[in-house]
């Protein structure tokens, strides 16, 4: 009953403007039924997940709103003692970062001297990379220096990256590389 009355009322904005308190039609009188029925995505989300902004090192708290298995909105976390709910332009664009129109979802492969990308199955790519690591390591291994002291390493493999990665990821990277004898492990922190 109420809803019907409301819709009827909303169909006559001029009447509402003339009869109601909103004489200049700056608020309720100007609102269409469509607008009235809108809800923020933050309210219709299934769940909210606590996150941290991935851009700079301020460490702003983020709330990721998820609906039907998709991120629908990312907001600042008002509980954070650092950011107190704020996000900067980059942090506010986090959802679009995750859903960029140019984001890649498939492995791409360029063979030596190739002139175009090719498709490659993820599992095959992983095996090929593992094989290359093993072969290059074997080929470039330095067991000892000229003075006979151990080196246990390869300078044939290098790695760069990590400042936007998680601590846990950097830990596995360093652990695996070190066990493989890869010492040229570097990071944005240097740059």
């Amino acid at each position: 009953m109420m809803a019907v009355e409301k819709r009827v009322a909303r169909s006559h904005p001029l009447a509402r403007q003339l009869r109601g308190p909103d004489k200049y039609a700056l608020a309720d009188a100007a609102q269409s039924s469509v607008t009235a029925s809108l809800q923020p995505r933050t309210q219709t989300a299934d769940r909210v997940v606590r996150s941290v902004c991935p851009y700079c090192a301020v460490g702003c708290g983020q709330l990721a709103f998820v609906k039907d298995g998709k991120i629908v909105q990312v907001e600042g976390d008002p509980d954070s003692p650092i950011s107190r709910g704020h996000l900067c332009p980059k942090g506010s664009a986090t959802r679009t970062l995750a859903q960029s129109p140019i984001r890649e979802y498939k492995v791409k492969y360029r063979r030596p001297y190739g002139t175009a990308w090719e498709e490659l199955d993820l599992e095959t790519a992983m095996d090929m990379i593992a094989d290359r690591v093993i072969a290059t390591r074997e080929q470039t291994w330095e067991a000892k220096g000229e003075d006979g002291k151990p080196l246990n390493r390869t300078l044939g493999i290098a790695s760069l990256g990590g400042a936007t990665l998680d601590n846990e990821e950097n830990y596995l990277m360093k652990k695996l590389y070190t066990a493989l004898g890869v010492v040229q492990v570097e990071n944005q922190a240097r740059i």
């Binding site: 996150s51 652990k175 740059i191």
Partner: protein, 884 residues
């Protein structure tokens, strides 16, 4: 950050962002905080609302300047002259915090009689070996102290392999000061009058850094400099504190570490370290740049700032001996290292096999990112993982980066979008000019799409050493995977392929502990399990709560000793989210900060030597005699029950050898270092040197630039001559690079985002009206900026926000360049790093991008081979080898 590590003991920000609200004065220098750390900047604004003075010293007038109480201009690359001027002002006008300086710093210590200052040797310190471009630091020691320098022991010591080994830069390093051993207390003169005491040496070193000299070197008007100096001094002392915030505007120089050292000296003299509203806040640019140095993907470090073994460290005993300090917490290096080896090699790590130390690879020199790229050019580096990093846009000398990667056998790029570093083989300036041809590039490339932070769980360590956990919200789509997934499964496959091998180099891989639980459809490794290993466990298998529990007998395991405690009580402490509304301003129950959840480091210095607060206004951590412990809103950075009047017995070692009034507990002498006898390769005091490429001769010394800076001169990396040399006038302007609010570094995370790309769509160059007139540049029109490396085009923004300078009597103009663009993405443009040559700080191997020389002319750049002709024309005029 060896600048901070050497001065105070730990390579991390000494304070946290929220504490800025307690400052009475904040000096922002080498940072455009309002634009690059906008949300953290709210704490600067809180301070201003409470009446604090906010001073922005910067080559440009930015949005940080606009809301500061004072903007003071400074020529790019001259900050040590400015900071040295502050030191001189403090000393000449008796403005130092006397009791703090005498008790908490090494001001009274007598230095070796052989030490000679830059004042004695016209710009170099004693020990300079010109043929090798390095220092023998023996004469920089404290008087009568034994010198134990040997290869691998110390980063600062001369190490074999040409370039010195040193610790990284935005990076920290902690392991130092091992030369100071208990039982050999340094000679001191508490009256600070001895001519060889640190205090007098400091006075002498900076005596010529007068306000007049600051004006001459920095182009900063004398009166403005004096206003800054006075504001800092007025706002420091018992009742007041000042803070300093910096970013890569300080680190990106051939003398960058010494910029931070100079700031450290200012803050120690003014008594601002370890106190609320004080400190030095290093502002990092990436979500976990602090974390990726704590748990390092860096060549010279193992987790927790343990040194990577050097070739000379042939066994564990030698490694431990070389990296252990008698006093301070580095006495327990054996416990940290053996616990790491137990975490990595589990049951295979036993006392009789050196806990598998023998499996670890050894470093022999500088293996950092630029030598690594040189190794690719030479064909020695054959395989390369490029993980969330875009070096062909983000690293100096883009043309060299692309040529290096085009010489690889194989390349793995992991990112969200197809970044320039994945596309260089068909889309780059070199393809356009014909310098590289697609069908002649042998590199095999795997582009692996990455999961984003909402698609995985894990922790970031922010700029204030705070670990914060982010929870997975959704599964990654398609082939997108986390790095955790990629490295875990890559390691699993390699281990399967090597299984059964008896070759010791393969056993180093197959005996590694690598059995992480996985979950879900994608078999994602459990990040909690990894963090728990980082935290470590005791003999009972339970998570440890503090690194003080680590043992050197193999009974404990710990992946990163400084993070021990982050999984205390089997709880992921990084995931704690007690609202700010439910706790005090320190918010100790939000996330977890290393070490031991401390928020202000060295906070014992917030109390006077007797343990009383310096003032009620600046009360923080203090000694409670009734309870017999240190109290306050933060975790005391001191043994909780160590009395302020504690004097170590003669036989004491480790932390027990640090007395009750020495707040810098990681240092071998417990003191803040005004003078750095060890830990740095380019001097115990910061001295002003000109950038590698400079428009002027060094007004302070005959020595033009840092004498031990790193250089890689070649036809691929030509560096301009500085003033006075033939050809220097080809590049008359000073170039400097910076970021914009709407973009993120090399653009992979912002030029892929339509909203951000729309806000900052196009590469531009900022010039002053005078420069625009000099070169006929039109606002909104095109300009070409040229160096010997390349030429790029950009839209012109003529603005008075870029001031002109007079340096040493000569007009000097600045070209401002935001560096985010590249050839891929939603918006595209030329890359500024194509212009920048590679030269670096010798301590940390960080390149100099914040000051170089260039030319600018109206109009767009030539396309194709004509671009090479233009650059070669400039190279010829600049007396440099031509590009092939």
């Amino acid at each position: 950050m060896p600048g901070l590590g050497t001065s105070f003991g730990r390579g991390g920000a000494t304070t946290f962002q929220q504490d800025l609200q307690n400052s009475d004065c904040i000096l922002i220098m080498g940072s455009n905080m309002a634009e690059n750390h906008p949300v953290g900047f709210q704490w600067v604004m809180e301070a201003r609302e409470r009446g604090a003075e906010i001073i922005h010293v910067d080559p440009r007038f930015t949005r940080t300047s606009a809301v500061s109480t004072m903007h003071v201009k400074i020529r790019p690359g001259s900050d040590i002259a400015f900071l040295g001027g502050l030191i001189n002002y403090i000393l000449e006008n008796n403005r130092w915090f006397d009791e703090y300086v005498r008790t908490y710093t090494n001001a009274p210590v007598i230095v070796d009689a052989r030490f000679q200052d830059t004042e004695d040797l016209d710009g170099v310190f004693s020990g300079f070996e010109p043929k090798e471009d390095k220092y023998d630091i023996a004469s920089w020691q404290y008087d009568d102290m034994a010198m134990h320098g040997s290869a691998g022991r110390r980063m600062g010591s001369a190490v074999s392999g040409g370039k010195q080994d040193a610790h990284p830069g935005e990076v920290s390093q902690e392991a130092q000061n091992q030369l100071l051993e208990h039982g050999e207390p340094p000679h001191v003169d508490m009256t600070l009058q001895h001519p060889r005491c640190v205090f007098q040496l400091l006075k002498k070193h900076y005596a010529r850094y007068t306000a007049e000299m600051v004006e001459r070197v920095c182009g900063t008007p004398r009166a403005e400099f004096l206003k800054v100096a006075d504001a800092l001094c007025r706002n420091s002392g018992r009742e007041r504190t000042s803070a300093i915030a910096y970013a890569v505007g300080w680190t990106h120089h051939t003398v960058g570490v010494q910029y931070i050292r100079a700031a450290s000296i200012v803050q120690l003299l003014l008594g601002n370290i370890g106190r609320p509203g004080g400190g030095i806040l290093a502002l990092r640019g990436h979500a976990s740049i602090q974390g990726s140095t704590d748990i390092p993907t860096l060549y010279e470090l193992l987790p927790g700032y343990l040194a990577m073994p050097h070739k000379e460290n042939v066994d564990l005993a030698n490694y431990i001996e070389e990296t252990t300090s008698k006093a301070g917490y580095w006495y327990h290096t054996d416990a940290y290292m053996i616990s790491l080896l137990k975490a990595w090699y589990g049951e295979h790590a036993q006392p009789e096999n050196d806990f598998c130390y023998g499996y670890l690879p050894r470093v022999t020199g500088d293996h950092s990112c630029y030598p690594m790229m040189m190794g690719m050019l030479e064909g020695n580096v054959k395989g390369f993982f490029c993980v969330g990093e875009n070096p062909v846009v983000g690293s100096a000398n883009g043309p060299l980066q692309r040529r290096a990667m085009a010489n690889l056998d194989w390349l793995v790029v992991r990112d969200f979008v197809e970044i320039e570093s994945a596309a260089f083989w068909y889309d780059s300036v070199e393809i356009e000019t014909g310098a590289l041809q697609t069908e002649k590039i042998k590199t095999e490339i795997f582009f692996m799409p990455a999961a984003d932070h909402l698609q995985k769980s894990g922790s970031f360590t922010n700029t204030q050493r705070l670990l914060q956990w982010h929870h997975k919200a959704v599964d990654p789509e398609g082939d997108c995977r986390s790095e955790l997934w990629f490295y875990y499964h890559l390691g699993r496959k390699i281990r399967e392929k090597l299984a059964g091998s008896n070759d010791p180099k393969n056993r180093a891989v197959t005996e590694l502990t690598w059995n992480y639980p996985t979950e879900g459809r994608l078999a994602e490794p459990d990040a909690h399990a990894v963090l728990r290993e980082v935290n470590g466990w005791g003999p009972d298998g339970k998570a440890l709560d503090a690194y003080t529990k680590l043992k050197p007998d193999g009974s404990t395991a710990c992946g990163c000793w400084i993070y021990c405690g982050c999984f205390k009580d089997e709880q992921n402490q990084a995931a704690r989210r007690k609202s700010r509304h439910e706790q005090d301003w320190v918010a100790a129950e939000w996330g977890w900060a290393w070490p031991a959840n401390r928020r202000i480091l060295y906070n014992r210095a917030s109390a006077d030597p007797a343990g009383k607060p310096w003032s009620e206004r600046k009360k923080y951590v203090y000694w409670d005699e009734a309870k017999g412990q240190w109290n306050g809103p933060d975790v005391p950075d001191f043994e909780k029950d160590k009395r302020p009047d504690y004097v170590p017995p003669d036989e004491a070692v480790g932390e027990q050898a640090i007395d009750g009034k020495s707040p810098f507990i990681m240092q071998g002498d417990g003191k803040g270092w005004l003078f750095a006898p060890d830990g740095l390769v380019d001097g115990p005091f910061p001295a002003h040197y000109e950038p590698e490429e400079s428009p002027v001769n060094n007004p302070l010394y005959a020595q033009q630039s840092n004498p031990v800076r790193e250089q890689w001169p070649s036809a691929n990396n030509p560096m301009h001559w500085s003033d006075g040399k033939p050809g220097a006038d080809a590049f008359p302007y000073v170039g400097t690079t910076y970021r914009l609010t709407e973009h993120h570094t090399a653009g992979g995370m912002s030029r892929s985002v339509p909203h951000l790309s729309e806000l900052q769509p196009e590469m531009f160059v900022e010039v002053s009206p005078a420069l625009a007139e000099e070169r006929n540049l039109e606002n909104g029109g095109w300009a070409t900026v040229i160096t010997a490396r390349s030429a790029i085009e950009a839209r012109v923004l003529v603005t008075e926000r870029v001031p002109d300078y007079v340096v040493d009597g000569r007009p000097t103009k600045v070209v401002g360049l935001p560096y985010h663009w590249g050839v891929k993405g939603v918006v595209r443009g030329d890359s500024v790093n194509d212009l920048v040559g590679i030269s670096a700080d010798p301590n940390v191997h960080i390149q100099e991008t914040k000051a170089f020389t260039c030319d600018i002319r109206a109009g767009r750049r030539p396309r194709g081979p004509a671009l090479r002709d233009l650059v070669n024309d400039y190279r010829a005029r600049a007396h440099l080898p031509l590009e092939e």
